[in-house]
């Protein structure tokens, strides 16, 4: 490859930041709390750096998967009465 690579003296990292810095920005990016100049650097870096682009996709996906693994929040069905009775009975017993 002819483009300067990390380690070359004439290498300018995309967006002026390293991949490591870019990864540090991921949480703030996902929450929309990057400062404007950080956001610009982040977006420029992501656009020009395939590994960071792939990593951003992974990061976003992991957050979504964790959310989805929790399942739908059932609209809070009432607990069955027998269960409620058992809980209250257990309390009275433990209090003599």
């Amino acid at each position: 490859m002819s483009n300067p690579q990390p380690g070359d003296s004439d290498f300018v990292p995309p967006g002026g930041i390293t991949c490591e810095r870019c990864v540090e920005f991921l949480l703030d990016h996902s929450e929309g709390t990057l400062m404007p100049e950080e956001l610009r650097a982040f977006e420029e870096h992501i656009a020009a750096c395939p590994p960071c682009g792939a990593y951003l996709a992974n990061y976003t996906r992991v957050a979504r998967l964790a959310e989805a693994a929790g399942g739908p929040s059932p609209g809070s069905l009432p607990a069955p009465q027998r269960l409620i009775d058992a809980i209250l009975r257990a309390r009275r017993h433990s209090h003599g």
Binding site: P6, G7, P13, T18, C19, E20, R21, V23, L26, L27, C49, P50, P51, C52, A54, Y55, A57, N58, Y59, R61, V62, A63, R64, L65, A66, E67, A68, A69, G70, G71, P72, S73, P74, S76, L77, P78, A79, L83, I84, A86, I87, L88, A90, R91, R92, S94, H95
Partner: protein
């Protein structure tokens, strides 16, 4: 709002309770006094939501989790300080009970999160990271096998990280709510969440999740 007459109100030193917490104070007093009817009210008011939380985290044993959570709460009632709402407090107790139950069932070895952080050379990725597969789903819902794989990965995280992922990403609490619930700083919650997600990208890219659902 009506003034409470004749009933002493314990206010938390140096802190004005929120209107919601203040509204709960009469119930809290009755609970601390051990009134059976107050406990019946408490269980009736909160058991539905707690059961839903338990079912989300530990679907196979949600009812057992609910019972354990209430028993812990009854024991802890003398120490309830009224700084959070009863619902918030019970939510945290339920999440803890559900996680403990999962933990005792799964007996998975916890991973060292440090070993799962992305590797850089001179600050740059050496290679493109392995992708976390996109689940093929209907309407964004995971199937059973996919859920199992995601849970298997989450369960391998050390407890401090696991709890943050569950409270923030699954239960949808804000970072500051998680911080208040765990008694740690907001910054620490965010740091743990970030590192947990980094670790999960590695665990999920390598897991059986890769095959689940996509075929």
């Amino acid at each position: 709002m009506e003034r409470s007459v004749g009933s002493e109100t314990h206010e938390i030193a140096g802190r004005t309770p929120s209107p919601e917490a203040a509204a709960e104070q009469p119930l809290v007093h009755r609970l601390k006094a051990g009134e059976d009817a107050a406990y019946a009210d408490l269980v009736a008011a909160h058991s539905g939501r707690m059961l839903a939380v338990a079912a989300r985290i530990c679907p196979e044993e949600a009812e057992d989790v609910l019972q354990e959570a209430f028993i812990s709460a009854f024991k802890a009632m003398p120490k309830f300080d009224g700084r959070s709402l009863l619902g918030t407090w019970l939510h945290r107790i339920t999440v803890n009970a559900a996680l403990m139950r999962r933990r005792s069932r799964s007996r998975r070895r916890e991973v060292d999160v440090e070993g799962l952080m992305p590797r850089f050379r001179g600050g740059f990725f050496e290679a493109t990271p392995e992708p976390v597969p996109e689940p093929v789903t209907a309407g964004g819902l995971l199937d059973i096998e996919q859920k199992k794989a995601v849970w298997a990965a989450i369960e391998r995280l050390p407890e401090d990280y696991r709890t943050v992922v569950v409270l923030r990403d699954m239960e949808g609490l804000s970072s500051s709510a998680v911080a208040a619930s765990l008694g740690v700083s907001d910054a620490l919650v965010r740091q743990r969440l970030h590192r947990a997600r980094l670790a999960l990208t590695k665990l999920l890219a390598a897991s059986e999740f890769a095959g689940a659902g996509a075929s």
